[in-house]
Amino acid sequence: MAPGINNRVILGMLGVAFVVYTAFVYTSGTAAEHLAPMNDNERAGAQVYQDYNCVACHQFYGLGGYMGPDLTNVISKRGDAYARAFITAGTATMPNLGLAEDEIDAVVAYLAFVDKTGTYPAENYEVQWYGFVAQEDDPQ
């Protein structure tokens, strides 16, 4: 037997709110209409990034592993050649993963795509009195 009627009503209301909220998150909340969608080469780069489990060590927007640096803006801050050199040769901490030339091109294209989505860490921001942060370098 299911529990009390009041509990079921609360559960139902929360369920409806969750569905509505989720619909907004899936659509308008994350539309990012100012950004072009991923093209085929960038998509191939995203796949390479996943195939080699780069997220184990690297981050986008501070989300991911901690062994290597955040890569959100590596292209605009360091340039294509810098990223390409690291991927090609590896470093003391990052292994040379033996990527093919077309895989490296795709990953660099993917990193350039990510770079255009925003800035991390935030550089221009204002902290509101109630603790919220207005980020002025947010591309929106």
């Binding site: 037997m1 909340g29 969608p37 998509r43 195939d51 997220v55 060590c57 927007y61 989300l63």
Partner: protein, 453 residues
């Protein structure tokens, strides 16, 4: 009184869960040293050790929680499982899939997603096992004629939301989500927030079940406070995820809403355990001293993690803590200090119930040693991560290597305390694994008379 069917399935899950934790900690320790010495076990890259560690310890949480439910329902709550065969298939499919996932990691076959680093095709059998589990759970509880105590709600909610979050975590396979970077990240972390919420429902439900059984006071699980905890936890599960993504340029309303949904559920959960503690007699504390001790440790870690969670939920502070080891301290502090302590309480509660004369069912010297070693080293581990996170957050330069050199001493303490913590937990797990095996092999567990709930 009615004859309960076999409770063996639950014990199998518990033993598998203990193996998963023992192995997961081992890979975690290797990963900790690879942070400091990248050439350490170079053949076993960090890209392999990290997912091995994460997948195994997440499995530990689910396996013990699932094992408890499969054990408690037939053994103590009067409800024979709707299908023992489904429970056995659940175990077999999960075990085989887990072994394939480990083989994939070791051979470098990745899906490359945080938490779900295995090839996505392997999500299909895991999803299937949850269908078996969910159907079995809800069909079994149809035997209940009274209003449900809160732990039945929590377990059921954990099961349902695992389905939702699991589907959501795989939406990136659809171009609509994958091709818009912001949407892809936000939906991914929305699903992970609910994933954590779903396992918290299973774990907190287990804690309340054990607390209710030890105290013998059924009102605890039917009180308004307990249901307040449940609904607040559900609210957080549904809406309290976006503090992970304050910094991702989504629409501001998502970020503002996340800030408003503060992490208050831990406070109420902590209060329930605290109230329960003061209601116990000395006899109850002594009789169930292991389970009691682990629950009290969980309670203390709740308050520690609550403080940290509140700090990192303030966007102005999150700006500096996000992407640093402070986030790791929060994740590790919660999964080890709260979830693992509650799950160990569940294991030792079962041992005390089934083998009351066994020396390690009580607070033996070895269990005490393991308990204190694990908790003290966890405290050191936690502080080292926070200091490393402060070092990273405060670093104003542009060189990642330079920043890593600055925080290296803290990471060394983190790695060494990780070894001590592993030793402490291994001692506890050794006795837990052995004694659950003794219970599993006894004839009485298969066709025992169940007690009234």
């Amino acid at each position: 009184m009615m004859a309960a069917r076999s409770s063996v399935a639950g014990l199998r899950f518990m033993r598998l869960g203990m193996l998963a934790l023992a192995a997961g900690m081992f890979f975690g320790v290797i990963g900790g040293f690879q942070f400091l010495f990248p050439d350490f076990l170079r053949e076993l890259l960090f890209t392999k050790t990290r997912p091995l560690h994460v997948s195994l310890v997440v499995s530990w949480i689910f396996l013990i929680a699932i094992g408890g439910i499969y054990f408690y329902l037939p053994r103590q709550c009067r409800f024979g499982l709707w299908s023992e065969r489904a429970a056995n298939w659940h175990f077999v499919i999960f075990t085989v899939t887990g072994l394939v996932i480990i083989a994939c990691y070791l051979s470098g076959q990745f899906g490359g997603r945080e938490y779900f680093a295995f090839p996505p095709v392997l999500s299909i059998p895991i999803f299937l096992t949850w269908i078996l589990f969910g159907v079995n759970y809800f069909k079994t509880l149809r035997q209940e004629t009274e209003p449900w105590p809160v732990y039945y709600w929590m377990w059921g909610t954990g099961i349902v939301f695992f389905f939702i979050t699991y589907v959501e975590a795989h939406l990136w396979l659809i171009p609509y989500f994958r091709d818009t970077m912001i949407r892809e990240i936000m939906v991914q972390w929305k699903s992970y927030g609910a994933l954590t919420g779903s396992w918290n429902m299973l774990v907190y439900g287990t804690a309340l079940y054990i607390a209710t059984r030890i105290s013998g006071d059924g009102k605890l699980a039917r009180s308004k406070l307990a249901f307040s905890l449940y609904f607040l936890g559900l609210f957080n599960l549904m809406f309290g995820w976006a503090h992970h993504t304050y910094i991702v340029p989504s629409e501001p309303w998502i970020r503002s809403f996340a800030y408003i949904v503060s992490m208050t559920e831990l406070f109420i959960f902590g209060k329930i355990i605290w109230d329960w503690r003061s209601s116990l007699t000395e006899w109850q504390k002594n009789a169930y001293c292991n389970a009691y001790r682990f629950l009290i440790a969980a309670d203390i870690w709740i308050f520690v993690n609550l403080g940290l969670a509140l700090v990192i939920s303030v966007p102005a502070l999150n700006l500096f803590t996000h992407g640093t080891h402070i986030t790791v301290a929060h994740a590790m502090g919660s999964t080890i200090g709260i979830n693992t302590m509650v799950l160990l309480a569940s294991i030792f509660y079962v041992i005390r119930e089934e083998l009351p004369l066994e020396v390690h069912a009580g607070c033996s010297r070895q269990i005490r040693f393991g308990f204190w070693t694990a908790n003290i080293s966890l405290a050191v581990f936690f502080v080292a991560l926070i200091l490393a996170g402060i070092g990273k957050g405060a670093y104003a330069g542009a060189s990642f290597q330079e920043m890593m050199l600055i925080i290296r001493p803290y990471l060394l303490v983190f790695a060494v305390s990780g070894v001590a913590m592993m030793v402490g937990f291994w001692i506890i797990l050794w006795h837990g694994f052995r004694l659950i095996g003794v219970i599993q092999s006894s004839e009485t567990i298969r066709y025992a008379e169940a007690e009234p709930a």
